[in-house]
């Protein structure tokens, strides 16, 4: 499915609008998806902090307000045994994906972020995060974060979502 993946990413060039409300939204993030209150668990924030704050890539990848999560909807793989671009052990990466365009506050550039789902297990149930800055309706699926993108993996069951850099929106 790699060719599909590539095609889908290139077909969308959506830029997230950033507002002063981002932090409020980040807080709301834990409330939104599925309509229930689920905890954002800080357990291994410390362990993961080493990854964060890299020069040019500021912020905490286990926090919903991390810049790359501007259009994510799901459990953060960084809290689930994965990293910002790798699935947890045993969770199958789904090649087909939706994308958002998020601005990196360090260089002011707009990056295309691929939100690949990790699949084949039940939900991780940690660090639920939903932000919709560049989310579009279901009839524009490749910019829609309500879809279970495990359809590109062997199984539809959903574990968590990564947020890897897939290019710059030039």
């Amino acid at each position: 499915m790699r060719f599909l993946d590539h095609m889908f990413e290139r077909s969308t060039r959506l830029v997230a609008a950033r507002t002063s409300r981002r932090s409020a939204l980040a807080r709301l993030g834990t409330l939104l998806v599925g309509g229930s209150l689920l905890p954002l668990l800080p357990i291994d924030r410390v362990a993961r902090a080493a990854e964060a704050g890299k020069s040019g890539d500021p912020g905490d990848p286990t926090a919903c307000d991390y810049w790359r999560y501007c259009a994510i909807d799901g459990y953060l793989c960084t809290c689930c045994g994965g990293t910002i671009n790798t699935c947890p052990p045993g969770a199958e990466p789904s090649a087909v994906t939706w994308v958002g365009t998020c601005r990196n506050p360090a260089d002011g550039k707009d990056y295309i972020i691929a939100y690949n789902d990790c699949c084949g297990k039940g939900a991780c149930n940690r660090c639920l995060c939903n932000r919709n800055e560049s989310d579009e309706p279901m009839y524009r699926p490749f910019a829609n974060n309500d879809i279970n993108w495990c359809l590109g993996a062997k199984h539809m069951s959903y574990n968590c979502t990564v947020a890897r850099i897939s290019g710059v929106a030039k």
Binding site: T19, L25, V33, G35, G122, N125, R131, N132, D135, N148
Partner: protein, 377 residues
């Protein structure tokens, strides 16, 4: 059988044995059955997002605030109800080993009084999996044909004949999504180019024609796809609160004149619609209910809110506002003459309002885990 030991028995038995009076009778073991559904009975579609391997539909009586029962359904299954109130349909995905193994998709018919499965039809393993919403599983032709939205990511609609209990067709809807009933044997899909695609079916459930109806300009404003319905007319709303209605049950479908939920003053304060199923209509009250939030922004279109605005469907005037005790994510109005407005809140509660007066009648707390929407007959 081996003899089982007695603990602390002797004294208690001695005390009991000499006591006089009638004893309570032995009771048989039984199973409940529900009465025929009334128009207020509610079916909460709960994805159980904390595990997301199976889900459930929880059945409640919102008048008595009573839990009636539940059915366990497949991964992220959408649901719909038959017009005769006898059947709850779900479009399920199951794996042979829980979250993995062999995939099987089925359309399942559950009896609304016994809450037991009646029958199932295996369907192509391609049904759309997403935060479940109303128009991904629908019924047309007096409930004879069930329509199931597929996303692989190619989009299509599976057609099931519920009398033959068989899949009778699959209809490609490239560039479009979902299946809104649009006449006796017709459905509509909403398309990324701003058109509605109308597909007519013949008696065998095969496509007999299709047409495109220009509906909105996607370069000007995008419509949220989760619409409300009354008398053949679907009411969609844009991110900024413009109502786009379309009459799809007319022989010649017709787009109606757009109008806005927000005044110019309200627009300046960025009042916008938000939530999941954020619109509801009571046909008897002729009211549209919309979940609205102030200080909206790019990306706030799924934010919950405690504000329900009430519009007269004829005059398009805001006639009331309802304040919910909890932030709501999805609405549903019952379709009868004494309508309730039902609101799922973000903590898993079901809030019950009198749809005419707006009075809050109560909240069933903790009735759901993660429920995107609810159904009534």
């Amino acid at each position: 059988m081996r003899k089982l030991g007695l603990l602390c028995t002797a004294a208690s038995l001695a005390a009991a044995s000499w006591m006089a009076g009638a004893t309570l009778p032995e009771e048989p073991l039984g199973q409940e059955k529900l009465s025929e559904p009334d128009p207020h009975r509610s079916y909460i579609v709960d994805m159980e997002f904390d595990s997301l391997v199976v889900g459930r539909v929880t059945v409640v009586d919102p008048d008595k605030m009573q839990y009636l029962g539940m059915v366990t359904v497949g991964l992220g299954a959408p649901a719909t109800l038959s017009k005769d109130r006898k059947i709850l349909y779900t479009a399920d995905t199951f794996y042979s080993r829980g979250a993995r193994g062999q995939r099987t998709d089925v359309l399942t018919a559950h009896d609304t009084t016994t809450l037991a499965p009646l029958w199932e039809v295996e369907i192509p393993p391609k049904r759309a999996s997403n935060i479940a919403e109303r128009y991904q599983l629908t019924l047309i032709d007096d409930d004879r044909l069930a329509l199931i939205y597929n996303f692989t990511p190619a989009t299509s609609v599976t057609v099931v004949d519920t009398q033959k209990k068989a899949v009778v067709g699959e209809i490609d809807i490239p560039g479009c999504a979902l299946n809104y009933p649009a006449g006796q044997r017709r459905f509509a899909s909403i398309c990324g180019d701003g058109n509605l695609l109308l597909v007519s079916l013949d008696e065998n459930g095969k496509e007999s024609g299709r047409q495109r109806l220009p509906f909105f300009d996607p370069n000007k404003e995008l419509l949220l796809e989760r619409a409300a319905f009354k008398d053949g007319v679907y009411y969609f709303v844009s991110y900024l609160g413009r109502v786009h209605a379309v009459d799809l049950f007319a022989e010649q479908p017709k787009v109606l004149e757009p109008w806005s939920l927000v005044s110019e003053t309200e627009a300046k304060k960025n009042w916008r619609p938000g939530g999941w199923e954020m619109l509801a209509i009571s046909p008897a009250a002729d009211r549209l209910y919309a979940l609205m939030h102030a200080d909206g922004y790019q990306g706030s279109h799924k934010d919950p809110s405690t504000n329900v605005w009430v519009f007269d469907l004829k005059s398009h005037k805001k006639v009331a506002t309802i304040e919910s005790p909890k932030p709501l994510w999805s609405l549903r109005a019952t379709q009868d003459e004494q309508p309730l407005l039902l609101g799922l809140d973000i903590e898993g509660g079901l809030n019950v309002f009198d749809a005419r007066s707006g009075q809050h009648k109560g909240t069933m707390e903790g009735i759901a885990k993660t429920a995107p929407y609810l159904l009534t007959h």
